[in-house]
């Protein structure tokens, strides 16, 4: 009986969490279309999610592209298929690696900050103060964060696609002496627009997932400084796991 009780409790907890998530999703969608629109706040969040993340995304995808080229080059050499290194790098990056790794990095960088900021505002009663001043906190805090994440993630991934492919090019051409022209040719030979767009769609969904989880975590923080820490950790762990989970189903769905 104890065992069943425990299962029941866990199930209830999971359902409660899912409920909060979807409730926040609904509220965010509802409030995002209602005035007043806070242009400057949206812009500020877009800078924080997008522009400020460029260095991290740049380094992540650059090295990913380089490693990809390094690994595939060694492997493909064994059956004399070095010519396809460019294609493999391009396809894996655009369809999978650039969106997922960018999302994971941005979750760590921006998601944690969102959860900590909203969590601190919750425990210091700043969110209550917003409500008391006749401002809907979901509209003022959550909507700009979620919208700018949905918008900026695809842009970051486009940057990541280019940077990663350039990393592959660097390794193949500079390190292994591949012919630059054939390498570039090869890169784009099998690449279709749908590969890039599927990665971009993924990125937008990932943006929604990590920002919403971070905001829910922060928004429902309880218990002072310790609570803020807990929320931040959960935002990053929950966000990252959800991204990987969603990635599988999205890939299944998109192809």
């Amino acid at each position: 009986m104890k065992f069943l009780e425990a299962i029941g409790r866990i199930l209830l907890h999971v359902l409660e969490e899912l409920g909060r998530f979807f409730q926040m999703l609904g509220q965010t969608a509802g409030w995002s279309v209602r005035p007043p629109y806070d242009g400057p706040e949206h812009l500020r969040q877009m800078v924080r999610v997008g522009v400020d993340s460029i260095p991290v995304v740049f380094l992540t995808t650059l090295f990913t592209g380089m490693v990809l080229a390094l690994q595939t080059f060694h492997g493909f050499q064994r059956f004399h298929a070095e010519g396809f290194v460019g294609s493999v790098v391009a396809l894996s990056l655009t369809r999978e690696l650039a969106p997922v790794l960018t999302a994971l990095m941005v979750t760590g960088r921006v998601g944690s900050a969102m959860a900590a900021e909203l969590g601190t505002m919750r425990v210091t009663e700043q969110i209550d103060a917003l409500t008391a001043l006749g401002t809907e906190p979901v509209q003022y805090l959550v909507v700009p964060r979620v919208l700018s994440s949905i918008l900026m993630m695809p842009l970051l991934v486009i940057v990541g696609d280019f940077v990663g492919m350039y990393g592959g090019y660097l390794v193949a051409v500079q390190l292994f002496g591949a012919n630059p022209i054939t390498y570039v040719d090869n890169s784009f030979q099998f690449l279709e627009l749908s590969d890039v767009t599927s990665g971009i769609i993924k990125a937008a969904v990932f943006g929604l997932i990590f920002s919403l989880i971070a905001c829910v975590r922060g928004y429902y923080t309880e218990g002072g400084a310790e609570g803020v820490g807990r929320s931040t950790t959960r935002a990053v762990v929950g966000g990252s796991l959800s991204i990987l989970l969603a990635d599988f189903f999205l890939t299944k769905l998109l192809f």
Binding site: P36, E125, D128, A129, T131, A132, G134, T135
Partner: protein
């Protein structure tokens, strides 16, 4: 929705009927009945952890009741739609325990926040912010960050922010807890001045009897989730109700300790 006819006001700005609330199975408010007249200043006193803040947060709708009703200007607050509730909230100004200033903004932007959100022109915002800061006796801090201010200054910026949009009801959550005696007196005087100059209804939560006596037209003692006693200050201080006596005298022994003292509960906030 058609405008509902205004129900009879019976002079009450806020009326609370049989309000009950529990958190995690623990009863915090156990049937509160309270009526606050238009223009009155009510002070709610009581030991820590007895739900004073929870009561205050119910009045402005930051916490939703388990049962019972709250009327503001005769309107049943929780029977309203979400949007109507937001409108009713604009009649309120609330000052929080530690000020709850937005720490990402300057003092000016904090006080200007409710004005800008309701779309007032910049010139008017500037003038009103200056007016409000002057009223709480804080000139020349507009450009500062909340983190650069002392506790007493932060509270007063909180006051200025609470009155900026000219609310009809002011709520003060422990306005002078944790301040030195001089600052406590300054805060009391600022509240008194607001009461005289702004024509507002005021509800204050405190456990300073001296402040309660000074700023209240009426004092209510909250303990064990119930209003045990309410009376004008003079009468309250003279009362021989055992719980009131104990609280006024600040004695460790008495009915409050035996029956009503609960373990200290953490600050509760909840979003409806």
């Amino acid at each position: 929705m058609a405008e509902a006819p205004t129900p009879p006001r019976d002079g009450a700005k806020i009326r609370v009927e049989d309000l009950r609330k529990s958190f995690h199975g623990k009863v915090v408010l156990d049937g509160i009945d309270l009526s606050i007249a238009d223009g009155e200043s009510l002070v709610v006193v009581g030991p820590s952890g007895t739900g004073k803040s929870v009561l205050l947060k119910h009045l402005i709708g930051l916490v939703s009741p388990d049962s019972g009703r709250i009327f503001v200007d005769g309107r049943d607050f929780w029977a309203l739609s979400n949007r109507e509730r937001t409108e009713v909230r604009k009649e309120f100004g609330m000052s929080f325990q530690e000020g709850a200033l937005f720490d990402s903004m300057s003092v000016f932007d904090n006080v200007a926040f409710p004005l800008r959100r309701s779309g007032r022109p910049p010139a008017e915002v500037r003038e009103r912010v200056r007016e409000c800061l002057a009223l709480v006796r804080l000139p020349n801090v507009e450009g500062k960050r909340p983190s650069e201010l002392s506790g007493g200054m932060r509270r007063r910026v909180g006051f200025a922010r609470a009155i900026a949009h000219r609310p009809e009801i002011l709520l003060f959550d422990e306005p002078n807890t944790g301040l030195d005696p001089i600052m406590t007196d300054v805060i009391d005087e600022v509240i008194l001045e607001m009461k005289e100059r702004l024509d507002v209804t005021i509800v204050t939560i405190t456990h300073h009897m001296e402040s309660a006596r000074k700023i209240g037209d009426r004092i209510a003692l909250l303990a064990g989730g119930r209003i045990l006693f309410e009376a004008p200050p003079e009468e309250f201080l003279r009362s021989d109700h055992p719980a009131v006596r104990q609280f006024v005298q600040g004695s460790a022994k008495g009915p409050l300790t035996v029956e009503f003292q609960r373990e200290e509960s953490p600050a509760v906030s909840e979003v409806p």
